[in-house]
Amino acid sequence: MRKYDYFLDTCPGVGDKRKNTILRAVKDSKEIYDMSEKDLSGLLRPEIVQALLQHREKWKLEEEYNKLEEKGIQLVTLPMEEYPERLRRIPDPPFALYVRGRLPGEEQLSVAVIGARDCSEYGEYVAEALGNCLGEQGISLISGMARGIDGISQMAALKAGGASYGVLGCGVDVCYPKSNRLLYDRLLEKGGIISTYPPGTAPRASLFPPRNRIVSGLCDVLVVVEARQRSGTSITVEMALEQGKDVYAVPGRLTDRLSDGCNRMLKDGAQIFLSPKEFVEELSMRYGNMLTLRKTASDIMIPEGEKLSEQELMVYQALDLYPLPVEKVLEKLQRKKGAQAPEFSQVMIILMGLCVKGLIVQNTSGWFSKTV
């Protein structure tokens, strides 16, 4: 049966909507494959009939499907029982899903974590803390396996022993971006890679917005960690709202452009994300049937620097999660302490000491930021 589904799904010029309409009119895709031109013409518009016929001529039904199986790619289509319930409920669900690994469990709560690719240290930190917490609690983490927030949160969830699922904008046998190879391999092991595009499809910019629909479709709750005012993330949020999912946004500072999108979402009525712990507690109240908190959830740990000397603490507090140049640090110290502020060379010693202790990092020559 699946080989006929595969045939139908790979037919060029036939979209998800159309496929679903066709399948409402006939029993299954085998019937379409076996139909004569005349019968097809009675059912479909001529250009679609042509497309189907041409495709049928070229398509090697058995061979192609065997290839798919050899690669360990599972084809799940809308009529099948395995098809994710969550996805079935969204408007215009995709006809076919290609899966390597597993699909997210229906009984398991699933949370999508999305955000900017070029995120800040702050975003990185929240993504990691959240991923870690979700992994610990056995909540599936859905994301796009992109650079930045996506990948960081997924990796953290896997490291914490959880399951994570990556929805790609290319074929499931293509690892994009290449730098996430390690994540890709671990997702195969402990979760799944999902795509609506046939194997071998190369990543293209136009393929990514539709994939966001699947990310939001597969989750129960969506968390936006960091987003600029206008970004791909906002598309996903729109889809999620359309699909009736809960949306959480991580608040940021007014002065950080990378938080503009999130702050705007909060104003528009998104739920506020205050800490991973609070977040999972809220989830357990709302989705009590799907989630029982395993143990006390891990939370954001900001190093308090109890072992720091007074001066070290002063310098540490003048720093931020964002990179700051030494001059700015000096300026801050002078404003706060006036004449008692340490000298340039003293500040340098303290900064380097903190670097060595691992409490801060030097981002580039003369710029420092707190590690979290």
Partner: protein, 511 residues
Amino acid sequence: MFRSVLTGCLCGVDANIIHAEVDVSTGLPGFSMVGSLSNEVKEARERVQVALKNTDFDLPPNKITINLSPADIRKDGTCFDLPIAVGLLGCFGLFEEERIEGVLFLGELGLNGEIKPVNGVLPIVKAAAKQGIRECIVPKRNLAEGSVIPGIIVRGAEHIRQVLEFLQAEEEEKKGLLVTGECRLEDFLKQAENSCSLDFAEVKGQKMAKRAAEIAAAGFHNLALSGPPSAGKSMIAKRIPGILPKLTIQEALDVSAIYSVAGLLTEEMPIVTERPFQSPHHTISGAALVGGGSKVRPGAISLAHKGVLFLDELTEFPRSILENLRQPIEDKRVNIVRVHGSYVFPTDFMLVCAMNPCKCGFYPDKNKCTCTENELHRYRGKLSGPLIDRIDMYVETQRVDLRSLSKMEKGESTAVIRERVSKARGLQERRFRELPFQFNSQMEVQDIERFCHLEEKEKRLMELAYNSLELSARTYHRVLKVSRTIADLEGEERILERHISEALAYRFMKG
């Protein structure tokens, strides 16, 4: 009749003394010139003949042979016109032979007999003085340049007729016939001491970058400034020559010789008194940068000798051009080989580079930087690895906003900073007096072990830094060299924690 006249020709920034041998004999009339001559030297035949005719001296129809000896040295340039003309006049018996003994002639002739300026007078006069030649007659417009060399009489002439009158005159009449140059080398240098075109005080804010410039100047470390547009990178770079110690007489002469060869000295400013600052555009050709060309000329790196070579927008320079810099930075000189011989130009410069930190220029300010990580890597990848290895210090400048700019007080002046730099250099000179180099930046690994001794506390810090900051061995040594200079600036014999901490901040981060 035969006469031999002394003259000189350039070879890189050095000069060779040449004998212009002139012979006039009976036979078929003709004018032939030999001795490994370039085209412009051969053209002297026409210029000399016509110039003499227009000075009321018609050459009789004789066989004239001219040989520029030694004949195996390639001769370029137009400075042989005057000595050839003098030799001819001597052959026709217009003055006694002993009048031109020990006198060197240089100059190009115009068709009316006028003597025009030539390049490279300074190094030729210098070579002449070294060989014990007592007197030089040079074009008047080159007189100032020639007369900075002590121990030799230099006279300037404007016309071939003046030269003839001078050679014919008796000793007591000679006075007043040709202008004699005075050696005013010290005056020029003293004058330069008071003048300072660009002051560091004008740079507001940028504490770290200014500090880095001072350290770099003190240890002659190569420096890279990175930062967003209009952060003051070029402003700082242009002021670095000012904080280097003033040129010594020897240095001034060496630098002036290069400028003389390049034809960049003027009558008003016959000697380079300030540290050079060369800032070639990134479209510069390889030959213009390191020197070369069919007639070999010094390139920008030689014109920056004892000064600063500033490469603005470093990432825009083609890699192939930058690779040319590797050997000159190491050897402090560049050897240019041509069919006719090899030329050596000194290139002891301090390299200062400026660049944007990323494509858009705002990294690491994530609020403004729109570059993706890939773009960042690609941008940094443009930097040539071997060149990066030769740069000891990196500093990130930041944009100062207009509001705080007006509030900020003026920084330290160039003179104050130079004072400190000179002191630090003094310490280095004493330290390295038995070694072939002068500056901390030139230390090799074994020298670093010898001169950058660390006490327990400091050793521990370096170890910690090496492990937790993931330094490479190369960076480790570089940090020590820079720490040495920072300690020298304080006059501190030992390298202390604070010196190391600061030096660590100036290391290159892959980003």
